[in-house]
């Protein structure tokens, strides 16, 4: 389709274990918000890790701006403009907010540029400036998640991936998280995110991907995914009960 970011035929697993992802794929459009949904253990996190280079691919193709980037290390992905915030524990709890942001620009290796970029982040997220010298581990869950997402922006990436940014947050805070996601996308950054709360995630996304048993079952504009009766029954309806 587009030659921005292509992800297809992804097969991956942990160690010598079974393949957790089996021929998974997703379409990515520049500047849009993509939401991956699916039940627990479907392989959503595994998919993110595989794309981010944290997990070796057994098979599959990932091309970015025409370059084959499958099998690169996480830092090489980062240098090419793809940043990742893993599920939970993405921060350095005993470093201050400012230090965490500095770590976000670790590969820049340029103090001046880094400081000015941190200032930009502070302008966009005033709450972080307020807390600049507080240890990250002592902030509220929502603030921590904001910091984790903001930290990826230091490198001015083209693609950011967030694994369950809403995990463990109160509904009101979850809405704030999605507003932040939207803000990020509005600056032209492509967002890939995983969401447990499928309805909520799809409502805030442009594109929906349904993953189960390590395979891509369905993908399409999120409104279509939301409206599809089979998906409603299997993945959206059951969710309110659970």
């Amino acid at each position: 389709m587009s030659d921005f970011l292509t992800i297809k035929g992804i097969t991956a697993g942990y160690g010598d274990g079974p393949a957790i992802l089996d021929d998974a794929k997703m379409t990515v459009q520049e500047g849009k918000v993509h939401c991956i949904i699916g039940p627990n253990g479907a392989g959503k996190s595994t998919m993110m890790k595989a794309i981010a280079g944290m997990l070796p691919l057994r098979k599959g193709e990932i091309t970015f701006k025409g370059e084959n980037i499958a099998g690169l290390r996480p830092d090489q992905m980062l240098r090419r403009g793809i940043a990742f915030v893993p599920q939970e524990r993405a921060l350095f709890p005993k470093m201050t907010v400012r230090e965490n942001l500095r770590m976000g620009g670790y590969i820049l290796n340029d103090d001046k540029a880094l400081s000015s970029r941190i200032d930009e982040i502070f302008d966009r997220f005033p709450i972080l400036r307020e807390r600049a010298d507080q240890h990250a581990g002592t902030m509220s869950g929502g603030q921590q998640q904001t910091l984790a997402m903001a930290r990826t922006l230091i490198l001015r990436p083209d693609v950011v991936m967030f694994d369950e940014p809403s995990l463990g947050l109160a509904p009101k805070i979850v809405r704030e998280m999605f507003q932040i996601v939207r803000l990020i996308a509005d600056t032209g950054v492509t967002v890939l995110l995983v969401e447990q709360n499928a309805v909520m995630g799809l409502r805030h996304a442009d594109w929906g991907v349904v993953l189960d048993l390590g395979r891509t079952l369905f993908e399409g504009p999120s409104a279509e995914v939301l409206a599809d009766p089979r998906i409603q029954e299997l993945y959206l309806g059951g969710q309110k009960v659970a």
């Binding site: 981010a52 944290m54 996480p74 830092d75 980062l78 240098r79 990742f84 893993p86 524990r89 993405a90 921060l91 350095f92 709890p93 005993k94 470093m95 230090e99 500095r102 770590m103 976000g104 670790y106 590969i107 290796n109």
Partner: protein, 292 residues
């Protein structure tokens, strides 16, 4: 009152040396999750280096200190390459590495013993046996210099960790290895550097030790338990915690030594360890309730 000040001063002097010994240990544990039981034996190695430097060439141990640090840092790199770079991912890694460091401690002790015999040694620069008085408070110069040097080195270490790029990487790896790797930190390199710095600090501590304590190859067993107590108390991997534990316990130990008997002063460290295990297993500055 004077006696109290007197004892406290002695305690602080020793506390500095123990803090320096413990800091390197804590650093290595933080980054690598390795409890390095060989650390004290390497301190003794550093002490021998300073001792022979003084005996043969008449070099002051304080001047030998950087040499000891560098030689031991190189040893640290060697040990990392030989013993620890391999399968850091296996499940029983941390248990196996403890036993491995135990074996290394025996190797170092045996090698030092074979080379230098089990005679007690002490480096004796003029200040080692000298002292001065402030009022009636008696201050041995050897301990004072060792204490001050330790505090300076720990200060430098703290500044390095706080401000340098490598320092950031070390702290980040300690707190969250996976996230550090994701942000482009070469965690293997950081592991190697932490070994070099940690063991280098052991070398520096050895140079100071050489004129503060008398030593012999098997002496390290006495320190293993003391230093490990400091690290557990400080909250495995928290350098600040280790330093705080070193100073406070050394002062308490100095009082115990004066008022109850010098043989019992080391008991302070062990009892403190058991009290911590009983009431705060995660250590003073630790967060995780259990270390698996």
């Amino acid at each position: 009152m004077e006696q109290i000040i007197q004892v406290a001063v002695l305690g602080i002097g020793l506390g500095g040396v123990f803090a320096l010994m413990g800091a390197g240990l804590s650093l290595v544990f933080g980054v690598m999750r390795i409890v390095n039981l060989a650390h004290p034996s390497l301190i003794i190695g550093g002490a021998y280096l300073a001792y022979w430097g003084f005996r043969i060439y008449g070099i002051d141990p304080l001047i030998m200190l950087p040499v000891c640090a560098l030689v031991l840092a190189a040893t640290g790199v060697l040990f990392y390459k030989v013993f620890f770079e391999r399968d850091a991912k296996s499940a029983t890694y941390s248990e196996m590495t403890v036993l491995l460091t135990f074996a290394i401690a025996m190797i170092v002790e045996g090698a030092l013993g074979a080379a230098f015999s089990n005679t007690q040694r002490v480096t004796s620069p003029s200040y080692a046996t000298d002292a001065f008085f402030i009022g009636n408070v008696f201050i041995p110069k050897g301990q004072l210099y060792a204490g001050i040097t330790s505090i300076v080195i720990i200060g430098l270490l703290a500044a390095f960790l706080k401000f340098s790029r490598l320092g950031y990487a070390i702290r980040a790896t300690t707190q969250n290895r996976e996230a550090a790797a994701l942000l482009g930190v070469n965690v293997n390199m950081v592991g190697l550097m932490s070994f070099a710095i940690g063991i280098g600090l052991a070398g520096a501590a050895g140079a100071l030790t050489s004129f503060v304590f008398s030593f012999f190859p098997a002496k390290h067993w006495e320190w293993v338990a003391v230093l490990m107590s400091l690290v557990v108390m400080g909250g495995m991997g928290s350098i600040l915690g280790t330093v705080v534990a070193a100073f406070s316990l050394s002062i308490v130990a100095a009082f115990v030594g004066t008022w109850i008997g010098s043989t019992w002063s080391t008991m302070t460290f062990f009892l403190a360890l058991f009290l911590v295990l009983l009431f705060r297993p995660q250590g003073l500055f630790g967060e995780k309730p259990e270390l698996v």
